[in-house]
Symmetry: C2
Subunit: 191 residues, 2 copies
DNA sequence: GCCACAAAAGCAAATAATTTGCGTTTATGG
DNA sequence: CCATAAACGCAAATTATTTGCTTTTGTGGC
């Protein structure tokens, strides 16, 4: 009954979307976030402002849309041969990218949008990356913590610090990863 | 030489600040966040828009300013007699308040401001609450985890889920608190 | 208490952004 | 190739933001 909700006549053009996204990225490198206006983006993209207003509503939604695209992972986590090492390498890169100036700006843009679906998507990007690492580890017969546990023990603390406090350094990230891995590996006696 | 930087002649009036804050809070209960404009706030507060523009710059900064004030804890964590129970009670209330609609709106407002000092302040509010619980526990001779550990193991996962995914339920919060307390109490053998 | 002064606030004109109605273009299914 | 519905462009109307200037207000010195 349902059938796929195929694009109906006059569907939105991908060209406008692409040029507007490109314009946003170009402008964001040249000026402060607060300086960028929709008329500016429209001029850079070669469209009229009303097109952007009608399609995205306001600049927050547009910036969030662009940020989600840029936060989408473009490659699989590197394979070091050991799950724990994969996770450490991934976490270090994640922390570095997300605490960079553009990284933090993108996160802020995603969270600032009233539509919370962007944040949810970003969370899923992260989960999927961890799932890849977990699946590889299990394929090798290694023990690997639950994805939820990794989110709680590694991802959350990194993100919290980036958003609310000082950016986490390498040593702290390593400690978080070690702590998560100890959930499944023999915990060394602390004495 | 330095001396205290006492307010100089013509210093900013606290009355305007108070009426503008009040106007923001009043309007936020009556309408959607995206509907609230500076001219509206100015009218409600009985000041001119230019006063708000000059003092706060844009609506993001104003909303962040108001949100930080509202996120400031107004009382000490309840004292149940046991540190672990104090932490659980506090965490449950924190999770509930922060995942409520107004709570999430306030967090978003704080994070959306370009001035990151609001987020830093909110983090410190949380730390201070936990420090109170920790100090009480130590005063009783109980073992209690480091504040940083509580931030990583309890606060961060709660906040991450509120911001990026589904809100944490009571059971999850309890599990997080138990996990943090096990850092200092005899961990039960998992068999 | 009064004066001088500097920071805020009010006012209003100028500028810029946002909304909206309407005609035109464009992509899709038949 | 035609019919159609969704986007888009354009331009006028509305609304928000900026800014120069004046007036008010809070503070320290006398």
């Amino acid at each position: 009954m349902a059938g796929k909700e195929g694009p109906r006549p006059g569907g939105r053009s991908a060209r406008v979307q692409a040029s507007v996204h490109g314009a946003v990225q170009a402008l964001m490198t040249r000026m402060e976030r607060a300086e960028v206006t929709i008329p500016m983006i429209a001029a850079e993209a070669g469209v009229t402002p009303s097109t952007i207003y009608r399609r995205w509503g306001d600049i927050q939604e547009l910036l969030a849309d662009v940020a989600v695209e840029r936060l989408r992972p473009d490659m699989e986590p590197v394979d070091t041969g050991i799950g724990g090492r994969d996770l450490l390498a991934w976490a270090e890169q994640y922390a570095e990218e997300m605490s960079s100036k553009p990284g933090r700006a993108m996160i802020r843009d995603v969270l600032a949008a009233q539509d919370g679906s962007g944040a949810y998507q970003c969370c899923n990007f992260t989960k999927q990356q961890i799932e890849v690492i977990a699946a590889r580890a299990e394929g090798r017969g290694e023990a690997f913590p639950d994805v939820d546990a990794v989110m709680d023990r590694v991802v959350s603390p990194i993100m919290y610090r980036i958003l609310f406090g000082e950016v986490p350094d390498t040593a702290r990230v390593a400690r978080l990863v070690t702590g998560a891995m100890e959930l499944v590996s023999p915990a060394p006696a602390p004495v």
